[in-house]
């Protein structure tokens, strides 16, 4: 299986600020891949690097098998890109903006654009400046998808949209992935990403904190709630499997990696543990666990830290 996006130890610095620090991940075809991270983590720079708009200082970045450094035109021609809060020329009508963009893509672009616009129920004769924010987002999406790209890259796609439009937007992403196309999106809307993403990568301070399939990630980690007898009792020793933990009164919340039966027995053996229960963590809990703590020493392995 050839990766659609292949980042291999990509580094990028702006003056003294290191924005991407040995970032590596692979995006397989036909999936929805989400890149999560807080503001300034390097998500947009990663996308710019994919599109050849920013050149990596070191490392290798390939998209659809094309070198991002040398074949940026081909990449931009082959992929669809929707920027964060996309701004289109306000004086153009919807038709005009489609016709203008059609000049840069293969034949049939404008026809497909019109079809998509009609399916989105956007008035084609209206000027961009007269459209609502949601409609503009739909136009931008139609512009990005009208040449049927193998890869669709979205930078904070639902930012500023109301919930209904947001849901509709994300559903179209899932539909697209179902047709075998790849969708790469950068976001910090964790709940939405969790609904649509197949793969997730967490970016922190320019480094990948964790990356992998979302369901596998969830299976590896268990959210354990431990009730102890007294408030001053520390978290029981779990043999270094705790990724993150915090206390609330007599309760400890811990995200534990490889929560095996041995660990269950170990907990039961402690006298000061009154009660404990485990469940599958949400993506948000994983996100907070990884990004709310100091960066791991080895980026390939999940970090082990305490709150």
């Amino acid at each position: 299986m050839t990766s659609v996006i292949q980042f291999d130890s990509v580094c990028k610095s702006f003056r003294r600020k290191k924005v991407l620090d040995h970032v590596s991940f692979d995006v397989p075809p036909g999936v929805v891949y989400a890149l999560l991270g807080e503001n300034g983590a390097g998500k947009t720079t990663s996308i710019k690097t994919m599109l050849g708009l920013v050149l990596a200082d070191s490392g290798s970045a390939r998209v659809l098998g094309l070198d991002c450094r040398r074949q940026d035109l081909e990449i931009r021609r082959s992929v669809g890109f929707v920027a964060e809060q996309p701004q289109l020329y306000p004086w153009m009508t919807v038709d005009e903006v489609g016709w203008f963009a059609a000049g840069f893509y293969p034949d049939g672009y404008f026809k497909e654009f019109v079809r998509q616009i009609d399916s989105f129920h956007v008035p084609r004769e209206q000027k961009i400046e007269q459209l609502s924010k949601g409609m503009r987002a739909k136009v931008a999406l139609a512009l990005a998808m009208s040449h049927d790209p193998q890869l669709l890259i979205l930078d904070e796609p639902t930012s500023g949209l109301d919930p209904l439009v947001r849901r509709e937007f994300l559903q179209s992403m899932v539909d697209r992935a179902a047709t075998g196309k790849t969708v790469f999106l950068a976001s910090h809307q964790i709940a939405e990403v969790e609904r649509v993403a197949d793969y997730v990568a967490l970016l922190r301070d320019g480094k990948i904190a964790v990356a992998g399939r979302l369901d596998e990630l969830k299976q590896q980690l268990v959210q354990v709630q431990i009730t102890v007898r007294e408030t001053m009792v520390p978290l029981p020793d779990l043999n270094g499997h705790v990724v993150a933990s915090f206390r609330k009164g007599r309760q400890w919340q811990a995200l534990v990696r490889d929560f095996s039966d041995d660990l269950v027995r170990s907990l039961q053996s402690h006298d000061y543990v009154d009660h404990f229960e485990s469940r599958m963590p949400s993506l948000e809990e994983i996100y907070v666990a990884y990004l709310g703590s100091p960066p791991p020493a080895n980026p390939d392995l999940p970090a082990e830290s305490t709150a």
């Binding site: 920013v54 920027a83 701004q87 059609a102 000049g103």
Partner: protein, 847 residues
């Protein structure tokens, strides 16, 4: 999809963006061309330049402002195509508008039968139009790359073009140091502008092809800056202070201060250069207020914090008001020093010093009051108005103190100390609302300040000496070249002015022509020095007359080589512009040099009467006459030098002839044989007297000797005349008290009249000499038997000569402007000589 299609779409997009503006300009331009209020070609140029500036300055920056940068960025096209499409539309649009309007203008002229404007050359207009269009295109493109806000880019473009033009103009002034004549198309400024366009074009090309990339120009300024301007920097600063992160605070201040410095300093350059050209203190105060308001506006709008107001309202005003004029003055001074040795002795140091002091005062006023206003008022317009109003008394105070020659008082006054202390106190409580609550204290302090300021200004202004009519008359009396009539007229003007205080402006307009006629100068109000016009003199109109009088006196005095008077005028005239200063130098320098040179030549002519000296003197006089613009006295000097040469040639010829004839007589050659030997001898012997003395060769000899003596007499008189001229060059056209005063510096000894053996006598009129003085050294009579005369003449003056018959006789010649009288002859001899004399019909009268 082909590359051609891509480019066509990009062109379409760019055209659509400027379409409305372009057609609007074209339509308005056509209307103005067809129904002309102005020159149709100027209309074409203005419209095209407007389009070029607007299109170029927004060419890249509007993509950022509209937020369409990333949309365009994500398109699969090359940077080259994007930049090329943008630039093509701007160039084709501007040139197209220019050509269409130009041709329409031509057509209109042909159809209506009107002529080309008299003051414009067709090719000059066309070339200037194209040059200006390319200037705006290139600098606009560059600024639109540098700045991401179209309006700011446009302002920077205009400022840059103005700066380049002014610098080119200054280059012209350096290259054409005479400053009297700068050609309509000076090559220096055109070349400089061309180089600037080339450099700007190269930079724009470089940046345009890297527009999308992380170029330093994006990283260093616009990107970071645009983020910073959106950041609540006040909170950021407070946090920095609380955490003690001074480096971060410093970094932030540096970042946010770059933009206003860079932008407004460029505007300040243009304003300040203009300011230094005009030298109007009032104008400078207005500029300072404008800048102050602009920066306070900027500060209040952006952050409302003391540091920003401090930086904005003081530092940049400092730059624009002090550094730039000082820099210009230094450049001009260096240029003057290198080009005109006179300035090594007399520089405009006084002017520079005053300008610097007033600029420093303006800076401190801006510094203190801008800061205080930004603390006291939390609204934008309140801050602007308050700082401007409060700065005006401080600036006035500065001007009064400096012009009142007491600059040491300037920085010791509460006018500057009070707001400084007040602002320091208030800035410590800046975060609280105390400044808003303390309005009553503020009003009380402000009232005290106003009273103190007004008192100080009035007190100090009263100390500045005013010019009274008596002082004016006294000053006028010092000027020897002003005639009594002119003096009387000036006095009456001053008196009439006193009576017409109510409507002085109308009165001046009515009498300006009269004043111009009296002075013989085209007086304009712009030539008024600001130091006299608005500061030292209470009576502005009187200052006009003083200035005009000074200028007139200076002009006339220079004609008579009074360098000292010129220097005095410069000393009284500290705000003289470089142009006027150069004019003064030019007028003063030549007489000063030539005076020395002429004096030296006069001495050499006495000691070594050779052809080389004479030729040199002729050359010097010619040169002097050229530079003195046909001054009659110089013209006469040149003719005197020529006369010396003629006398010299004639004397040599006679001497050689005498030797030849004497040699032939000794050999026993008869008179007839002598006549047949040489046509020149025949000519010399062709008189009636010689025919009556047959056989006597001594007659021939006597004739030759007589002619030789005549020439020698003329020569001595001419030398004396030359010495008198040298004296006049050094004494404002005055004659010496007696010829003995010429001894030493001008003549080693006073020559005697060859005929009588008596010394020459100098007779002067008994009244002040105000007109031109004429000298003539001429042989009178056709036979040349009269003794030499030193002739002085003065138009319209009663010289009271001792020989009334001679006066009547000269009057009878029909040339009353020339008065002749013999010198050094006894009365009886004089009478007898006069009886033999013939009317002097070969006299030259030069006027």
């Amino acid at each position: 999809m082909t590359p051609r299609t891509q480019f066509a779409r990009l062109l379409w997009k760019e055209y659509r963006q400027v379409r409305a503006f372009g057609w609007l300009l074209l339509g308005a331009g056509l209307a103005l061309v067809l129904f002309p209020l102005f020159s149709p070609f100027a209309t074409a140029r203005v419209m095209a330049v407007l389009f070029a500036a607007a299109a170029a300055a927004t060419i890249f920056s509007n993509e950022h402002e509209n937020g369409t940068f990333w949309f365009q960025r994500a398109l699969p096209t090359t940077l080259r195509d994007v930049a090329l499409a943008k630039i093509c539309v701007a160039i084709v649009g501007a040139i197209g508008i220019f050509l269409v309007l130009w041709l329409s203008g031509q057509l209109t002229l042909v159809v209506t039968g009107r002529s080309w404007p008299a003051d414009a050359s067709r090719m000059d207009e066309f070339g200037e139009g194209l040059l200006t269009i390319f200037e705006f295109l290139v600098f606009g493109t560059l600024m639109s790359l540098v700045d991401r806000r179209p309006l700011v880019a446009l302002a920077k473009t205009v400022a840059l073009v103005i700066s380049v033009r002014w610098f080119g103009f200054l280059l012209d002034l350096v290259v054409y140091p005479g400053l009297f004549y700068v050609p309509s198309n000076p090559w220096t400024s055109i070349a400089f502008r061309g180089i600037a366009i080339a450099v700007g074009g190269f930079m724009a090309f470089r940046y345009a092809t890297k527009w999308y990339a992380d170029t330093p120009i994006q990283l260093l300024s616009p990107m970071m800056r645009s983020k910073l301007w959106q950041t609540p920097t006040s909170l950021f600063q407070i946090e920095s202070v609380l955490r003690g992160q001074w480096r971060r605070l410093l970094w932030l201040q540096t970042r946010v201060s770059i933009w206003p410095f860079a932008t407004i300093t460029i505007i300040g350059v243009a304003i300040s250069i203009l300011d230094s050209v005009l030298h109007q203190v009032t104008y400078r105060a207005v500029c300072a207020s404008m800048l102050l308001g602009a920066f306070t506006f900027r500060a209040a709008k952006s952050h409302q914090n003391a540091l920003r107001a401090f930086a904005a309202s003081s530092m940049t005003v400092w730059f624009s008001q002090l550094a730039i004029p000082a820099f210009c003055c230094v450049i001009v001074s260096i240029t003057l020093t290198f080009t005109h040795p006179y300035w090594r002795e007399q520089s405009q140091a006084d002017f520079v010093q005053r300008s610097m002091l007033i600029s420093v005062a303006a800076t401190i006023a801006s510094f203190t009051w801008g800061q205080l206003a930004s603390l006291a008022s939390r609204t934008m317009f309140g801050s602007i108005g308050l700082s401007t109003i409060l700065s005006i008394p401080a600036l006035l105070w500065a001007v009064v103190v400096v012009e009142g020659k007491a600059p040491h008082l300037l920085f010791l006054t509460p006018i500057f100390l009070y707001p400084l202390i007040e602002s320091i106190i208030r800035s410590r409580r800046w975060n609280s609302d105390e400044t808003r609550r303390a309005h009553h204290w503020w009003a009380i302090r402000l009232g005290l300040y106003a009273a103190l300021s007004i008192g100080l200004i009035v007190f100090r202004a009263c100390e500045i000496p005013l010019v009274t009519n008596e002082q004016l008359a006294e000053a006028l009396a010092d000027v020897p070249r002003l005639s009594p009539n002119q003096l009387r007229r000036f006095r009456s003007i001053g008196d009439e002015l006193e009576k017409n205080q109510a409507n002085r402006a109308e009165w001046v307009n009515d009498h300006r022509r009269e004043v111009d006629e009296i002075l013989g100068e085209d007086f304009t109000k712009n030539a008024l020095p600001s130091s006299l016009g608005s500061i030292q003199q209470k009576d502005f109109l009187r200052a006009i007359f003083i200035y005009t009088y000074m200028y007139s006196a200076f002009e006339s005095s220079v004609r008579h080589s009074d360098v000292e008077l010129g220097e005095r005028i410069i000393a009284k005239h500290p705000f003289m512009s470089p142009w006027q200063g150069l004019n003064v130098v030019r007028w003063c320098q030549l007489p000063k040099n030539d005076s020395v040179q002429i004096r030296e030549l006069a001495r050499r002519i006495q000691s070594s009467f050779d052809d080389e000296t004479i030729l040199q003197s002729i050359e010097v006089f010619y040169n002097y006459r050229f530079h003195s613009r046909g001054d009659p006295s110089i013209v006469r000097l040149v003719d005197a030098a020529r006369w010396i040469r003629q006398v010299r040639v004639e004397a040599v010829r006679i001497h050689r002839l005498t030797k030849f004839v004497m040699g032939q007589i000794r050999k026993g050659v008869s008179l007839n044989e002598l006549k047949s030997m040489s046509p020149r001898v025949q000519l010399a012997l062709a008189g009636d007297r010689i025919d009556g003395l047959s056989g006597d060769n001594c007659v021939l000899f006597q004739e030759i000797v007589s002619r030789f003596e005549q020439q020698t007499r003329s020569l001595r008189g001419t030398i004396l005349q030359l010495a008198l001229m040298s004296w006049q060059l050094d004494h404002v056209g005055q004659l010496p008290g007696s010829l003995d005063e010429l001894k030493g510096e001008y003549l080693d000894s006073i020559p005697n009249d060859l005929s009588t053996g008596m010394p020459f006598l100098l007779i002067k009129d008994r009244r002040p000499v105000t007109g031109h003085i004429y000298y003539k050294n001429e042989l009178l009579g056709i036979d040349g038997k009269l003794p030499p005369f030193l002739c002085a003449a003065e138009s319209g003056w009663d010289l009271s000569l001792p020989e009334p018959e001679l006066v009547e006789q000269i009057w009878a010649t029909g040339n009353p402007s020339t008065w002749l009288f013999p010198l050094g002859l006894p009365a009886e001899e004089s009478e007898s000589k006069h009886g033999e004399s013939q009317p002097a019909n070969n006299e030259k009268s030069e006027k």
